[in-house]
């Protein structure tokens, strides 16, 4: 099912804002309509396209050290508390024993004290016989604040939402999201949570309009990826560390680089290629946070973990003895025609259609190869392809795309990022937390299940903004000539502004792009 794009420049420009961007903000459609292609190209041609200018965010190395320090402090606190509890327990037992003794003395008829005089109980013992109040130690602790890893995660989430809300068009941001999902890491993995945002800022954002090979290098040598796909702990069996510790190879990263990041599944590599490539990148690890030196929290090549000797990967021998061995393999993978095809298909599927036109995929693949993997050139080829403008709007917006487009359309921006993070989770696309290393699905069917949840979120949005906005005006400003007669009537006939807003956000024009 799809919505056609009318053969009219204004309608095509509006469709492009939804297809390639984050949806128009108030006034965005009018400003954009006259020169849509040029504006999209300009969006990724700015010197810092894709960058986030927030100096307060931590680098990945800083985040690793901050999380480490936090855990150490918590550990020290726990140990301290345990010792204090222990001491208190001992003291209490002692007191109770004394109190029991006092009670027994008080109750015991004392033949040695005729005349019924009170037994001689020391005053302090009477006081101790009073019931002992439960320890208030736990209640005195401050209210639960998010821990350092979660706080870093939220700060990064906030910066990411801000970038999306503030983007004029949002094509560069959409490319960031695309590549971040292509090279995904997951906050679900313990020590990755505090690195998800830094990973995106350090490895993805600088390269969305640069060379694919540079992005690939930055990604595969980033601590977040090395932790996520276990390479940080992968040890060559014949390396110094391997011989000494009897630990060995982890193929996870090597396999996913071949299968997901570059060539694509079933593109002609063998299990031997995976194993050998895994050996090639042994020693690609992260400087331990406990070592307070320059390597701490940074990528570094640990020679002692590296499998010595040449390796053969996909019919080619790599004889380098250090980090350049793996870099040579990555460079070759980046230039491989299978990678060009894999990337071309994924881009076209994400932006244009679940089953994109073969001619378009071929054109993107050719541009990728001819330009030496220049992602700006490939992105320009995408937005100048006639198919990209004529293809019917068949893609269901992914949850975060839809949420951001909704907020942009009604002109609201969040003051607290947590409800947005929760809403993303509720809609099945938890931020930086894909279910598997192949990322969130880019096929529409995968998202249809969440339609009733979208209605729930739309109702909540609408309740907040409904009283304040003119739904008809928002409908026009968001869709211009793309607005169907039926949607316009549905919005106009809604029984309240809030209902009108909810229906607009749920309309096919809003769900599809």
């Amino acid at each position: 099912m799809a919505l056609d794009v009318p053969n009219d420049p204004k309608a095509q420009a509006a469709a492009a804002l939804h297809r390639f961007g984050l949806g128009p903000r108030p006034g965005g459609l009018a400003a954009f309509a006259a020169h849509a292609r040029e504006a999209l190209i300009a969006d990724i041609s700015k010197p810092n396209a894709g960058a986030i200018g927030d100096d307060n965010l931590l680098s990945s190395a800083e985040a690793i050290r901050a999380a480490y320090d936090y855990r150490q402090e918590r550990k020290a606190e726990r140990l301290g508390r345990r010792a204090a509890d222990e001491q208190e327990r001992n003291e209490r037992n002692e007191r109770n024993e004394m109190a029991n003794a006092a009670r027994q003395m008080a109750a015991k008829p004392d033949n040695a004290n005729p005349g019924g005089a009170k037994p001689d109980v020391k005053p302090e013992m009477q006081a101790l016989a009073a019931p002992i109040a439960p320890s208030s130690g736990k209640d005195d602790r401050p209210k639960q604040q998010p821990g350092v890893p979660q706080q870093i995660f939220l700060d990064e989430a906030r910066a990411r939402f801000d970038a999306a809300m503030n983007a004029d068009i949002g094509f560069a941001e959409r490319l960031v999201w695309f590549w971040s999902n292509h090279f995904c890491v997951s906050a679900d993995k313990g020590n990755v949570r505090q690195l998800c945002g830094a990973f995106e800022r350090e490895a993805i954002r600088p390269h969305i309009a640069g060379k694919f090979a540079d992005m690939l290098f930055a990604v595969e040598q980033h601590p977040a990826m090395l932790y996520y796909l276990d390479n940080a702990a992968s040890i060559g069996p014949n390396s110094d560390a391997g011989r000494k510790r009897g630990k060995g190879l982890n193929e996870n990263l090597a396999r996913e680089i071949l299968e997901l990041h570059t060539l694509g599944v079933r593109s002609g590599y063998s299990q031997a290629d995976v194993t050998n490539f895994a050996k090639v990148i042994t020693g690609w690890t992260v400087g331990p946070a406990r070592l307070d030196n320059a390597r701490s929290g940074e990528f570094f090549f640990n020679e002692r973990m590296h499998e010595p000797g040449p390796q053969r990967v996909i019919d080619r021998d790599y004889g380098q003895a250090d980090v350049t061995q793996g870099e040579a393999v990555l460079r070759r993978l980046a230039d491989h025609p299978a990678t060009a095809k894999h990337i071309a298909l994924k881009l076209a599927r994400h932006f244009i259609a679940d089953d994109p036109p073969a001619a378009l995929v071929e054109r993107l693949q050719k541009r990728f190869l001819d330009s030496g993997g220049d992602l700006k050139e490939v992105s320009i080829a995408l937005v100048t392809a006639p198919e990209a403008w004529q293809a019917p709007r068949s893609k269901l917006r992914k949850p975060n795309e839809w949420m951001v487009a909704s907020m942009r359309a009604v002109g609201m921006s969040p003051s607290d990022v947590r409800p947005l993070v929760r809403a993303n989770t509720m809609l099945g696309e938890p931020l930086w937390q894909p279910p598997a290393p192949n990322g969130f699905s880019d096929v529409s069917d995968a998202w249809a299940d969440g339609l009733p949840q979208r209605l729930d979120i739309a109702n909540r949005f609408a309740r907040q903004v409904g009283e304040m906005i003119d739904p008809d005006a928002v409908a026009d400003a968001t869709f211009g000539p793309l607005l169907s007669r039926e949607t316009r009537e549905t919005v106009t006939r809604a029984e309240s502004r809030a209902q009108a807003v909810a229906l607009l956000l749920m309309a096919p024009e809003f769900q599809r792009r």
Partner: protein, 419 residues
Amino acid sequence: MSTDGKRFSPHLATRRELMLGAGALFAWAYMPKLARAEGRDPRLLTIILRGALDGLATVAPVGDPDWVRLRGDKGLRTDGNYAALPLDNVFALNPAMPNFHRLYRANQAAVVHAVATPYRERSHFDGQDVLESGIVTPGASDTGWLNRAWSALQPADRVNPRQAFAVGPITPLVARGPAPVMSWTPSRIPPAGNDTMSRLLDLYRHTDPALARTLEERGALAAIAQGDMNGMSPAKIAATPGVPGAAVRAYFAEAAGAAAKFMARADGPRVGALAFDGWDTHANEGADQGRLAALLGALDGAFGAIESNMGGAWKETVVVVATEFGRTARINGTDGTDHGTATVALLAGGALKGGRVIADWPGVSEQALYQARDLKPTTDLRAVLKGILRDHLRADEKVLARDVFPGSDQVRPMAGLVA
């Protein structure tokens, strides 16, 4: 505090704020000075029904010779299984409203019929704008008549000060303005918008059948899809998505009852408003045993909850229920009614001079209908509101005409509504 309600300050609401909206009480943070000076302690609760209430299905002119011809078997009658409750020799009340009927017979409830705001088009948004702003031109005001009335009443003592809050994005227009507002929120979330869901499904069916299928399958909307609830038992209707049943009943009762409990307190607010959505009955209106009957039953439960929770303050209470406009006099092709003009306003409370249907009845013959389709408006809703504000709360008549309902000099306050 912002008085510029239309300018939306960017802000994502917290969970608590999300639950505000339908059913939340918005009230003045002060007591009315002049009424207090007389030794009285009056309460006024305004309930806005958003979506346009079908006045003819709420209070039917069963004694009008043209009634049966107008609505046929979809109209209320005084015989049969769902016999309407007689009010006088012309009008009868929807059988879903026994509480209101009891209050009416005790002279503590009244109906104003063939009433309308000055708005004569048929857009919900604009109609609600006029109803809530008290201004004849839609979209022309950022403040509501109730808030401006608060200013006109002159503040005396402040009510429980901890509850006061600045006008926020979810404050309904009627309560927005310069006077300090406080709010109370029901603890439960309003029932999911089944009406919204069925409208969306309708849109999808016409424009995107794949989405319609998805929503139907995932949303379990079989009953709405069939579009027919005739012959279903009340229990089945209550359990059917799209038909407001027990959940709506409970929600109205809790929202209105708790608002009343709040207003009954010695340090509680005296003048407030709340709103209920869901009255836009274009298809399968179900005046006698379907959707509208269920909604009116829920509203009737709200009257009951207000009466009992007001306790001793009930005798000094007036509740006004108003909607943006009425619905077509005739039933449409989908067993519902479309946007119309005149409708009813319902009044209740111990302070009321009730037991009356107040109407300059225009009749429902072909010639009598407004634009040959709607009940003709013969009473201006502003007259009713001005009468209550003047006689119950002692608002100044000149201020009412100048500030609260500007341009309403010709609309005289309706006298004698309050005992």
